[in-house]
Symmetry: D2
Subunit: 459 residues, 4 copies
């Protein structure tokens, strides 16, 4: 990602672009010697930022400085024929976006693959599901992962759609009328179309815009950055929930070997990486706002009030999503589940979570529905109160309370038997995991190497 | 749009939903009498908000109040079997979103159609193209419209992709495990799947989510609202440019019969509707921020901190885009172009815009390229200065200056002849218009009635 | 708040404004009969929205319709002399803002007062402080409340500063040059100044802008809405932490009498109101974006692209903060702390939280610092691991482990004694509470009635 | 600004901070040798980022690495006594913020000063004021500048208020209870207070927070960044209007010597710097969103999900405002007004702008008010239509039309006389300029050197 957006990386892309244009122009009949193209090819990787900088201080024009530098190195003057600055910069920036999007797609596929693996591993691990952050109904840990995985799947699908049609501006000239290329080819419209097609193919774009101005519509940038934010959102929902679970001691996002929580408290297992994932998402929401502030603000055929914004928002949004995905992949690879702690929570909560089932059994056993409901409600409220008041030693637990109530007609043995069947309370959770895993694996396969991608080590 | 999001409209959708669920449950074997369903059908349009409100004040629970009201009217108790509140509200809200998105798609198709018509009408109208808000190169007015049209096309395509896969949450229960429906059908997973499929079909969704929590992922809402903002951006770029053109007296957004600019200055032709279009876009950017603030913030299986936000952001974002599209359709239908004013601007600017062509002709006529460039530069700067200094009476214009310079070797006649060929300076603009018009018409056809849709009269 | 922003409330303010202008104009010499003013006063509360609506449909001009309605009722034509529409609407809207800000200030003072009361009540309640959502060091519950209170204090101070200087646009005419008022007073500049001063005083503003255009700068709206968001942030930090604590069963945001958690699970104590507070804050962040999108976008002396945005963002931002404050006041009044649950958590965590103190005592008792540190680290990690692995029955706890290590030289009795002094581990927390309480009480006193304000009952 | 936020600059601040703490700790009785402090002072400017980096790769802890580096250089171990990481980082980051805010205040004072100078220069330059981007009423150019100046004044006042009370977190320890400092000073609360007071004084803060957690409230960051955005808004309103005026050829933002508009069109005077100012403002709106996403999201005593966001948003927001102010100062110093072009526009528009005055004169001359109004309306509409239709050669202008209408009773001479008094139509504009200039100069004086500050040359 850094290589793509670095000054050096960008200049490399520009030079590739210029050479591609020259070759196509030559093939279509312009008088550009093959030897000149060869001269440019020969020097294209000699990128000296200081020299370009010095030239810019003289010309006060960034593109001019880079033209002069490249032509100076090659000892030729054949690049940038019939191009305006924007014919270069718009296309090269879109190329950066395209390649960066593909990288995000690859790493998102990797995340999908790892998340599916974790969901599969914990497919049947009974877990106290929570709504409003308090215990609600049983689920499984694998299902919880699959749930965030499905959020990622939606975002991943959208990203694929965008990549399937992301259109490049092409060689359209100062106000988008292709005047200069047309002039260069003596008014031959077909040749300008062929030229653009060849450039497109070279750059790897599937589509070009037709009627543009000096610039391509900035709502395209908005679309790109919002697609990134959507990927981030899935990660952030996952990370937020991991932070909650870490707070209850149910799991840890994992530690590198030798790492300790903090110097003062070495046992402290902070979910720092998950916090960072949430932070990256907040960062992306800021770039969404910046791009929303550009979309719909085009004046006539375009101005450059967007320029300084895009220089910040585009690379930095891609850096943020890349940092997020690398962090997430680390967490997905290292996280540690504490089954004993999960089981302890389940034991505390299960009687409460099972009240619906207990009601049904009581009715089956002959109790009146309303009577049984009232009885259960009374005992649940009383048991919850006792728990809060710390009255756990002396006070009976919920099962004991229910067993002692003749209205229900269920013995403690019968009740304990219901609770022992807890694995049934998770409903379709395991089936949902299977569905997610199957879908994800199919998708990840389409992205070679994604499943085995090893993320960078985090500092 | 109002009908969709009004309290009454929502309750109507809810009752349809409940009835659909009952029918499917009955078909799949639950003991729900056909007569009971008929009783609900009979009263479903008796919507009394005051009565529901009164019930809510008693139960302190909104869904419960609406269940009791509907069952009270029908004299039955068969709705909401095995459902939690969210099984109702999530699906009904997604139904509102789906239908609202379709309405937006329809009106956007109408806008595309009208914009194409305007582009076709003004296909060849020579116009002074502007970058940085100052004259740059010639274009045509039709091309300028096509340019904003192409921005709309991108947004329209994205909206279509979203509509093609927008997935509904379905009947998933309190934490998303389908426990209650499974219990209702005696653990028969196939039946719960069939039930969901039938509901989907009834509601018109093409896809359902599988592994969800209490709620569907809120990044889906973010995706919806950003898709709306992208539509708005195309309109806003158009509207901003119209405001600029109105400021130069080149066109007017149109007036209703009898309308005057302002009471004090009746001739003042304010682009108020275009300003409003820009305003609606700013509004949408706020809802984008709200939904970005929900996406990625899911706690465990879900909480309701999103609830109050979605109650504001979803309907209000749809109202904003609807207001924008209606306003835009009015402008597209009523706007008036002032060809004389456009021609007067062209006449002032053309000599400057033609300097590239003049340079080429001078070279053809034997001048040295560098010499000719220097000469043209001198005269262009001098003529521009004279214009700024108001020195238009006494000072020669640019053509006279160029004609008087022997370095160029072009007579005033030769120069005027070049300018008379101005229609050639627009390059591929007319061809780009044709391309946009053809594409748009094909799309609009796919949305029956869109091309003929008559927008509401604005107040 | 509703009364302020309702259509009827706004028209009432407008009529007051017109009457104030008439009176001042009369006093300064314009020929407006006292009887005419009396006629307007007599009918000013006859507000008939339907009639005004019907007039607007005829005139296509909202202000004109309201002028005609009011003059029609009075049978006079003396209002709006020398005013443009914006002279009315800008000032009346700023009046709405001013009064709404004061209401927010009052309710924020009430929140400060209640928060101080809660902080005082729980000043010494030992609590396991958390960073990264995991136990870190002891604090007190009162200190935790004071911490969020101090965030509110900052926001409250800023709000006070804004209210101390919020400047009104005044009667400045169509482009801000006061031309029409000057003409009315025969060019007498002093009289126009006096007129404005009297209107200011009448409306309760402390300052007026001088050099404005058609509109006052929209960055003022941005300032207002960001001030509201800052108030909201304090509440949201508090609410987020309450949601976390409710998830651990340490406290509840409180229930109204007879309320149960959910029909299926009556013991479930959802922090719904705290979730709602977070939601309102997210809503406000959207209005911040809207107003940021207006600030800095003034064209010349002003346009109305801001109009539709302000009509949404201003009232709705005030409704959101009002809803938030009412909700918060309810929570602050009803919340219930579960000391037994807090004590249970402390008992589990305290040995870990006390390791710093234990280290010092070991050193005092003669152990080498590095040796002791290493020993404590080993045992803390082992004890934490045992806890996670559910090995609580068989495995020794941290105190037992430390007591058994000769390197430390501290007996179990000595260690238990250290833990018994836990109240000392809270450092300056109680003193910080005292400081916050004293500051808040002083501020609340300055807002009469705030401390006793009873919030609306929530539905 | 770069020095403040650079890695080196930050480390310099950190070392100053550590030394200040050591000195204060020594004065308050801790056993820190004066020679040790001297050793630290001696090496404090030896900042070797690579060495620190290498240490961080070993320790995996950034603060630890920087402690070890500094202590290693000094050959001592006395820094960071009783501090946690946040005691260092929070305070140093707030110091960066404080100093950066002061720099912004200084440059904003410089902008105010230059804007006042421009307003004074063009105090009486008659200008066609515009609302809705179309001519509305006369104003003066100086008044237009003063209008944006007054927007800056509001933002400047707010910034001053913030700087007057911006509170630092202070030495509060891991969860904010001051436990470690208290322990260090044997529980002597007064000494910890004194220590904090001395640090405050050293750093230049006027206030400290009392009850904080691990971190200071992030709504403070929101307040800071919104204050920057408000400053930016004034600049952006100015820049937007300059872009509009440049599009009409009324002025230019100025060129550096030798600079040309573009290589192809050297006379093109693009308002690139003004566009950039607008871009910087859009950037800031993104950082506002990021900080809004942190405010109100504190979990318990704090976590670090804010960390990565603040590392981006704080420095980058300050870089953006700094770039904006430098750009603006350049524009304010270089911009060129074209009085002839302004006069030409006035000549075209004045008859329309004067219709209100003409109406009054007609009434004075005996015409009926309604009759005169109707006559003027007819002619204004007809003249405007003729202008749009290019019918300027043959058709009479508005003055001729009015003179020819007996209903008005005003001769062409009388009408031309009214227009010749155009300078009166600007109302109180010059007086408003005077007021702004006086206020600004007083403020600028309070910031020594601001009025003479020479901005950096832009590339």
């Amino acid at each position: 990602m850094k290589a793509l957006w670095s000054p050096t990386g960008r200049i490399a892309l520009e030079r590739d672009f210029w050479i591609a244009v020259m070759k196509a122009q030559r093939e279509l009949g312009l008088a550009i010697p093959a030897a000149a193209i060869a001269d440019y090819e020969r020097v294209k990787s000699q990128i000296d930022l200081d020299s370009i900088d010095a030239r810019e201080r003289l010309t006060l024009h960034d593109v001019k400085a880079r033209i002069e530098e490249f032509s100076g190195l090659a000892g030729r003057e054949f690049i940038h024929l019939g191009l305006t600055s924007r014919d270069l910069t718009e296309n090269v920036e879109q190329l950066q976006v395209l390649r960066a999007l593909r990288l995000v797609q690859f790493k998102a596929a990797a995340a999908l693959s790892r998340l599916a693996a974790q969901a599969a591993t914990h497919r049947d691990q009974l877990l106290t599901g929570r709504t409003h952050n308090v215990p609600a109904q049983p689920t499984t840990l694998g299902k919880r992962f699959a749930m965030f995985g499905e959020e990622l799947l939606s975002a991943f699908t959208r990203l694929g759609e965008l990549l399937g049609r992301y259109p490049v501006r092409g060689l359209k000239g100062a106000v988008g009328t292709q005047l200069d290329q047309l002039t260069l080819f003596g008014g031959d419209f077909k040749k300008t179309q062929k030229l653009e097609q060849r450039i497109l193919k070279h750059l790897g774009f599937k589509a070009a815009l037709s009627a543009v101005g000096q610039v391509y519509p900035r709502s395209l940038d908005f679309e790109v950055v919002t697609a990134l934010h959507q990927i981030a959102a899935a990660a952030a929902s996952f990370a937020t929930t991991l932070r909650l679970m870490a707070g209850q001691g149910l799991l840890s996002e994992g530690f590198q070997k030798g790492q300790v929580g903090s110097s003062a408290m070495p046992h402290k297992m902070n979910a720092r990486n998950c916090e960072r994932i949430c932070g990256f998402t907040t960062i992306l929401s800021g770039y969404v706002t910046m791009c929303a502030g550009l979309a719909g603000h085009q004046w006539n055929e375009g101005d450059v009030s967007c320029s300084v914004v895009r220089r910040v928002a585009l690379p930095d949004a891609f850096y943020a999503i890349d940092g997020l995905l690398e962090t997430w992949l680390n967490v997905l690879g290292q996280m540690t589940v504490f089954p004993a702690a999960i089981a302890a929570e389940n034991a505390r909560q299960l009687p409460f979570l099972a009240t619906t089932t207990i009601l049904m059994e009581a009715v089956k056993a002959g109790a009146g529905r309303e009577t049984a409901h009232e009885a259960i409600k009374e005992h649940a409220l009383a048991a919850a109160r006792a728990l809060r008041e710390g009255d756990t030693a002396s006070a009976p637990d919920l099962v004991e309370r229910l067993a002692g109530d003749a209205r229900l007609g269920l013995s403690e043995t019968a009740l304990r038997k219901i609770l022992a069947e807890a694995h049934r309370f998770v409903g379709a959770a395991p089936a949902q995991v299977d569905h997610f895993v199957a879908t994800s694996r199919a998708l990840a396969k389409a992205h070679k190497g994604a499943a085995r991608y090893a993320p960078m080590k985090l500092l």
